[in-house]
């Protein structure tokens, strides 16, 4: 076991060859069959513990998928099957959120935090929170911008909640579906690619949206420059999480396809942010001139609002 551990630590030191070594690890496992049962046995005893951070970080996708297959063995029509997707504790969810807000360069979010235990709690409730945060912040910001104007009558704009819900849930669930299908298709053509399961992709997307929640709250500030700076900042943070997750999955592929894939991921993410800012938050500092008021002596007086 000591030799296995040192062997794994040696692999972990060379992070650049880490994922490229995965196909090699497969061939190694064929040559040394005696070490595999010990490896899996050790893994099964401590699923998802934080101390196994380094060990599971070096694991190849085959073994993690095997472990995942052993976990989710209930048939899909039973309640227990869906309970396996909510098998997270409070500290795990908080750790995953922390990992999405403070991305460490070089560390893969999925390998580090998800580790064959993808949950649906995070994506679902982060999306729900984001929907209501955007709707409420947008409403509040519009109210504060138009506050001084005498012709302004406050409206709750409740319709925008359903629009926000449709947009955000569609982004967080359909884009991962498309991406997963695309990666699956490329995986069938080029063998040496790290592959993610659909739920892991949904997880990454869901947790990467978390940083937009404080951004949406700060977008209440009615300054254009502030809003765009905030958007760039949050786009960089969440975009980097996505890029660091998906770059290892496509970099062994054709160069142009890899760049196009990662570029599309970032572009869609940016489109979501820009679209939310444009639709839910009215432009500040827009001076609408008040309507022309005809004076008593026939001349017209144009008054400008402050």
């Amino acid at each position: 076991i000591a030799s296995l551990v040192t062997c794994l630590f040696a692999e972990f030191d060379d992070a650049a060859n880490l994922l490229a070594a995965n196909p090699d690890a497969t061939t190694i496992s064929i040559e040394e069959p005696a070490e595999i049962p010990k490896n899996q046995h050790g893994r099964l005893q401590e699923p998802g513990r934080e101390e196994d951070d380094e060990l599971l970080g070096t694991d190849d996708s085959d073994k993690t998928e095997l472990l995942a297959g052993q976990k989710k063995s209930a048939p899909f029509w039973t309640f227990d099957y869906y309970q396996t997707f909510f098998d997270v504790d409070t500290y795990q969810v908080l750790d995953r959120i922390k990992g999405s807000v403070f991305p460490v360069p070089g560390k893969n979010f999925v390998r580090l935090y998800i580790r064959s235990n993808p949950d649906l709690y995070g994506p679902f409730w982060i999306c729900a929170t984001l929907v209501f945060t955007i709707a409420v912040s947008g409403n509040l910001s519009n109210f504060l911008i138009h506050l001084g104007r005498p012709t302004y009558h406050y409206v709750p704009e409740f319709r925008k909640v359903s629009i926000a819900a449709t947009a955000i849930y569609a982004y967080a669930w359909l884009v991962p579906l498309a991406l997963w299908g695309f990666l699956l298709w490329r995986n069938s053509k080029v063998m040496n690619i790290v592959s993610y399961s659909f739920l892991e992709i949904v997880c990454v997307y869901g947790y990467s949206l978390f940083v937009y929640i404080p951004t949406a709250i700060l977008w209440i500030i009615p300054q254009k420059v502030v809003r765009w700076v905030l958007m760039m900042f949050s786009l960089c943070l969440s975009g980097s999480v996505l890029v660091m997750t998906f770059w290892p999955a496509v970099r062994d592929d054709n160069r142009r396809i890899a760049l196009a894939t990662v570029g599309t991921v970032v572009l869609l993410h940016a489109l979501l942010a820009v679209g939310c800012l444009a639709y839910f938050f009215d432009a500040p500092e827009l001076d609408f001139p008040a309507p022309i008021i005809p004076a008593h002596n026939g001349t017209t007086v144009i008054t400008k609002s402050q």
Partner: protein, 217 residues
């Protein structure tokens, strides 16, 4: 009965007696049938149960009465009255008005179902309808808050009325969340309590937002 052990009955002696034991003027069947009681008794029993649960919500203690005898009458009454009170603010012809009756109804019931599913999926031991019952009954402080807000809005809709409404809604929101947490927290696994409480917080926050932003036409 020790003395009867020595008694033996020979098969030649006929045994006679009464098999049925008289239990008084009512047979056991009539205890479970409520067909014969006056209608007032039936209605009052249900109303008293609902009223008792309202009192439990207003003074939340960790009692199991709310959980044991769940019913959905109270949540229905509260949801309908809240949705009706939120109605008058959408007389605007544009789509930017407040929520319609159906939207409030769907948000409350769909939200309660989703939260219940969430707590069950996380490993909670509470039953589905018990959780719906608790979440529905804990809308009571917010309904009272809505009533107060409408009364305040009758007096005027300036800044002072807004501040009063804000204080009332925040207080009722805190009351609702604390009441439902007091009832539901025990049935959750200990290291996932925050994961279960947060959606409840979000649910009552959305309802409070709808109440606070209500503007009459």
């Amino acid at each position: 009965f020790a003395g009867l052990a020595d008694v033996s009955i020979s098969q030649d002696i006929p045994v006679e007696g009464e098999i049925t034991v008289p239990v008084g003027s009512r047979s056991p069947d009539e205890d479970f049938s409520t067909l014969d009681e006056p209608v007032k008794d039936t209605i009052m029993r249900d109303l008293k149960a609902v009223g008792k649960k309202f009192v439990h919500v207003m003074y939340p203690k960790k009692s199991s009465a709310l959980l044991r005898d769940w019913d959905l009458w109270g949540p229905l009454v509260l949801c309908v009255s809240l949705a009706l009170m939120l109605q008058g603010g959408s007389a605007d012809s544009k789509d930017d008005g407040g929520p319609q009756f159906a939207e409030v109804f769907v948000i409350i019931w769909f939200g309660a179902v989703v939260i219940t599913l969430n707590s069950k999926l996380l490993g909670g031991t509470i039953s589905f309808f018990q959780s719906l019952c608790v979440l529905g009954y804990c809308v009571l402080p917010l309904t009272v808050g809505m009533l107060v807000c409408r009364l305040v809005l009758l007096a005027g809709s300036g800044t002072i009325s807004f501040i009063i409404r804000l204080i009332v809604v925040v207080a009722m929101f805190a009351w609702s969340t604390l009441a439902s947490t007091a009832f539901l927290a025990d049935s959750q696994p200990p290291n996932r309590k925050a994961l279960v409480v947060y959606p409840i917080f979000l649910f009552y926050f959305v309802i409070s937002w709808m109440i606070l932003t209500f503007t009459p036409q």
